[in-house]
Amino acid sequence: MPYAIEAKGIVKRYASGLTAVDGVNFQIPEGICFGILGPNGAGKTTTIRMSYGFIPLTAGDILILGRSISAEPRAVKALLGVCPQEDNLDPDFRPREGLAAYARFFGIPRPEALRRAAELLDFVGLAEKASASVRELSGGMKRRLAFARALVHRPRVLVLDEPTTGLDPQARHLVWEKVRSLKKEGVTILLTTHYMEEAAGLCDELLILDAGRILEQGSPRALIARHMGEIPVEVQDPSGLAYLRPPNLEDLFLRLTGRELRA
């Protein structure tokens, strides 16, 4: 059986000379949630954009369900659901119409598209906003609408670039809950995030990138055990009281990628 996503020696060198991704390999089996972590500039977004065909590869190839994104971009993009980092919802359409208009690009007939639009708006808790103006939606609502849009053609592989950045705790938990329920249905999920609790709570498998290369790969639990062992971490609360807690993913992340700030 082919992998949901397979990256084979992928390289991205921009015209500026910057090598954002430098020979990365990974395989994502179907039905798991796979997270890419890394500080800013590590190559997460470049990797994810290459995987949905937005950025052409300098070298290597990415296979989605066994088919090359470089060789068959149209066919492969039809298999993927994409929720990008920036808001690119179409403000010219109201949510329900926008979903239906988007569905048309995947060859979904209009009655079916409208039915799915209603279903998805319900799924992300936006049924009441079906006919609101997209410009008037809050940041969290826009994010959820973008999430719904990524699902309109029932993709088997879902790509989420920082799906919860800027969301309040309620909206973030809603997205997590939806990701879990999609995973249960057998959808493969590739996501990037800056939130270690999100990575630890959602992802079966993690890839830690830095400077365009793979630093580590494994399940959250295995990674922590490998690098941090059972050594408790000493922390201080604001009153200066010190206490010990077990190591978590954030401790591991900082140990692997260092503490200095990135571009």
């Binding site: 937005f54 993927l80 690119n88 010219d92 359409f93 988007y102």
Partner: protein
């Protein structure tokens, strides 16, 4: 390029356009009426008849009627694929969203430019019956203006799309607006016949709008030779094809790293 996906991009724009159809149909409907009133009757009473060659003289209102069609074609196509495409590409990120569907950039560009050409055609199609009703253009000869509107509109739309691909920000459109569109509007044999000599005589015929306004005028007088018309249409088609390819390439360079 996939014709089916390019058509869907075109249809997306059509759907948005029809959503506010009343506001969109109003300008091409009102504009000729205002021009006829202001220029045709107002200025026309001062100007009298205008020579159009071959010893023929026509009232000023009849002179500017086809000029108005040519100007509308240029402006509709230009505004749609300069400002309209830029807003969708830069502010709304509509192109980015479409690129996550099976569409490629070639499909998006083709759909956008085809839509600009369509808007040019629509404005000509709305103006034609109004001008004919006022007796300012001859029928059926004036029907030549429709294919001309589509193909010249295509060329202007593609040229505007090239600009949308390269301008750093939306204010930069002021430059082509004042250096290209306004001179064509004024000197493209739209509102007065080009003089027999002098700098206007030298520059005017080379403006990309001039062949269109001349074609429209001959069509409106019923004196257009079909072979000549086909030649002009072929010229605009070639320009449209070339500029479409160029605009697509530049837009790819801008959006795809």
């Amino acid at each position: 390029m996939s014709p089916r996906l390019a058509f869907l991009v075109w249809r997306r724009n059509l759907e948005v356009y029809l959503r506010t159809w009343f506001v969109n149909f109003l300008p091409p409907f009102l504009e000729p009426l205002l021009y006829i009133a202001g220029f045709g009757l107002g200025v026309g009473s001062l100007v009298g008849n205008v020579p159009v060659g071959g010893g023929l003289e026509i009232p000023y209102a009849r002179f500017i009627a086809p000029g108005m069609v040519a100007v509308a074609v240029m402006q509709q196509a230009f505004f749609e694929c300069a400002y309209g495409s830029f807003i969708r590409m830069y502010y709304q990120k509509t192109f980015d969203a479409l690129l996550a569907t099976p569409c490629t950039l070639e499909d998006v560009a083709a759909g956008e430019i085809a839509w600009g050409a369509t808007k040019a055609l629509v404005s000509a199609a709305i103006m034609l019956p109004i001008l004919a009703a006022f007796g300012l253009i001859a029928m059926p000869g004036s029907l030549w203006m429709l294919p001309a509107a589509l193909l010249a509109g295509w060329a202007f739309a593609a040229g505007a799309f090239c600009l949308a691909a390269v301008v750093p920000n939306i204010d930069t459109f002021n430059l082509p607006m004042f250096l290209l569109i306004m001179p064509m509007f004024a000197l493209g044999e739209t509102f007065f016949p080009l003089p027999e000599s002098g700098w206007m005589h030298a520059v005017g015929p080379w403006l990309p709008l001039t062949p269109l306004s001349r074609l429209c005028r001959s069509a409106s007088l019923g004196t257009l030779a079909p072979l000549h018309a086909l030649g002009v249409l072929l010229l605009y088609s070639l320009a449209a094809l070339l500029l479409s390819m160029l605009g697509t390439r530049w837009m790819r360079r801008r959006l795809i790293p």
